[in-house]
């Protein structure tokens, strides 16, 4: 599956090479589409390609590292 997500890094995670680590830890192909770092915050639009369960484990790992993982639609639930 190909999962498209926005990753939000805060000050504690922004200097960590987490996308590189992700590729080492899991058998996924990562493809950065957009990236920005400013005002104490980093934002990356990332495509993660791999087996469904591996992609899920990879995103769970990112969340464990303190990265906010959100669908590229961001909040889908509306009032």
């Amino acid at each position: 599956m190909k999962l498209r997500v926005y990753l939000t890094f805060d000050e504690s995670t922004v200097r960590e090479p987490l996308i590189w680590k992700l590729g080492k830890e899991f058998n996924v192909v990562t493809n950065i589409r957009t990236a920005e770092v400013k005002n104490h915050m980093g934002l990356v639009g990332l495509e993660i390609d791999g087996e469904s369960d591996v992609v899920e484990a990879a995103t769970a790992w990112l969340a464990d590292q303190g990265v906010k993982v959100a669908p590229i639609e961001q909040d889908v639930i509306e009032g």
Partner: protein, 415 residues
């Protein structure tokens, strides 16, 4: 006349044919409907618009459908109320309420966006429509889908209050309650939208859905006598309404329907979920996602998709953004009800509460025209004000008992 040109990425400018898709394949930027406005030269006049029925579709050339709407043909054209009593209470000279608390058929401005989304979904050949919502959107999708003969799915958090489930369930929609944290529910909905061949109104047909908000702005300008206000205050959840009201004003100027009044756009949020207002106040354009905790549930979007663009509109137009506490929301709901007889939902309390705060701080001038956008009906969020209203004084069925009460209130019998 159809003037829709394409879907265009707001970030990189890549254009796409009209299709049910919402993000740029290159940069993941959101897609927006763009138009060839010059095709309307000499055709789309005030007279033409005024000759049409009073619905949101009198501006149909500027909405992204082909021909006539197949869903929600009666929607829109809500009142613009001159709020004389509220003017006195706030100490301002010219104040209006754009009152979408009476929008047809489900009493919120979501009927505008949903009718465009579903009309477009029918054009695309979808038979099933869906949304993820905790309130107004769910009711609107369910009702408009029912009226249009479409199948619908509504996704909600599993522990949503019964009243809100009822507001969608009565229309016979398929309601799916999802267990898990808010982020998990969000992610599942995004995945469902990607996997099933449905029109998910705020996912794969979002570019069309969002355009429906412009009709609120068009009506506001026509009802003001074909002019834009100097200031317009908009509640912000995803931030989409803020950007679309601004787009509607720019379009009317471009088409020569109004003069440029230098309208400033202001955003309103509840303090418990104010990522866009915070970004404006902090002077940054990056939106830090938050976990929402506010009585204004219909604005509780912690990671707003259009936050960046709303921020930009506010800054570019010289507006501002404000946030208010839950108590200020309730106080403002009461103020609006007691001065103008309009019972708005909590989001309306946010809008008025923020406007009041910005008037007091001088961000909103007292001597220029201001429009407040009220987007939903208070009957849907009664629990918020349950403890804030006067309780009935109980008496026996005795005239003597009532006379005593009336006297205490300062009233005397007529004769």
């Amino acid at each position: 006349m159809n003037i829709v040109r394409a879907l265009k990425c707001r970030e990189c400018g890549q254009e796409y044919d009209i299709q049910p898709t919402h993000v740029c394949e290159f940069c993941f930027g959101p897609l927006e409907v763009v138009y060839d406005y010059e095709k309307l030269d000499g055709y789309f006049t005030r007279e033409l618009i005024e000759s049409r029925p009073q619905t949101m579709w009198r501006y149909k050339e500027l909405l992204p459908i082909e021909g006539e709407p197949s869903v929600g043909a009666q929607n829109g054209f809500t009142p613009l109320v001159r709020a004389k009593n509220l003017e006195k209470a706030l100490g301002v000279s010219e104040l209006y309420i754009k009152n979408d608390s009476v929008c047809y058929p489900t009493l919120s401005f979501k009927d505008r966006v949903v009718s465009v989304a579903l009309s477009k979904a029918v054009e695309f050949g979808f038979k099933t429509v869906a949304c993820a919502s905790t309130g107004n959107l769910a009711g609107s999708v369910a009702a408009n889908a029912a009226a249009a003969g479409l199948e619908s799915y509504v996704f909600i958090p599993h522990d949503l209050e019964q009243g809100k489930v009822l507001g969608a369930g009565i229309f016979g929609t398929r309601i799916i309650g999802i267990k898990g944290k808010y982020d998990d529910v969000n992610r599942l909905c995004s995945e469902v939208a990607g996997k099933y061949g449905w029109a998910f109104v705020n996912v794969n047909v979002r570019p069309f859905y969002a355009e429906g908000s412009k009709s609120l702005g068009y009506e506001m300008m026509e009802q003001l006598g074909w002019k834009a206000p100097k200031h317009v205050v908009v509640p912000m959840a995803s931030g989409s309404l803020c950007t679309k009201v601004h787009k509607s004003i720019k379009e009317f100027i471009k088409l020569g329907l109004i003069e440029d009044n230098g309208t400033a756009v202001y955003g309103a949020q509840a303090t418990g979920c104010s990522p866009i207002a915070k970004s404006v106040k902090d002077g940054t354009d990056l939106i830090h996602p938050v976990i929402a905790d506010t009585v204004a549930k219909s604005l509780a979007i912690g990671n707003p998709a259009d936050g960046f663009y709303a921020n930009r509109v506010i800054n570019e137009t010289g507006g501002w953004a404000e946030d208010v506490s839950d108590q200020e929301v309730i106080d403002a709901m009461k103020l609006l009800a007691e001065t103008e007889g309009i019972f708005a939902e909590t989001a309306g309390g946010v809008t008025l509460g923020c406007a009041k705060k910005m008037i007091e701080s001088g961000k909103l001038p007292r001597d220029e025209s201001i429009v407040l956008c009220i987007t939903g009906n208070g009957l849907k969020t009664q629990e918020a004000v349950l403890d804030a209203i006067n309780k009935p004084r109980i008496i026996d069925a005795s005239l003597k008992d009532f006379d005593a009460l009336a006297e205490a209130d300062g009233f005397q019998a007529a004769a």
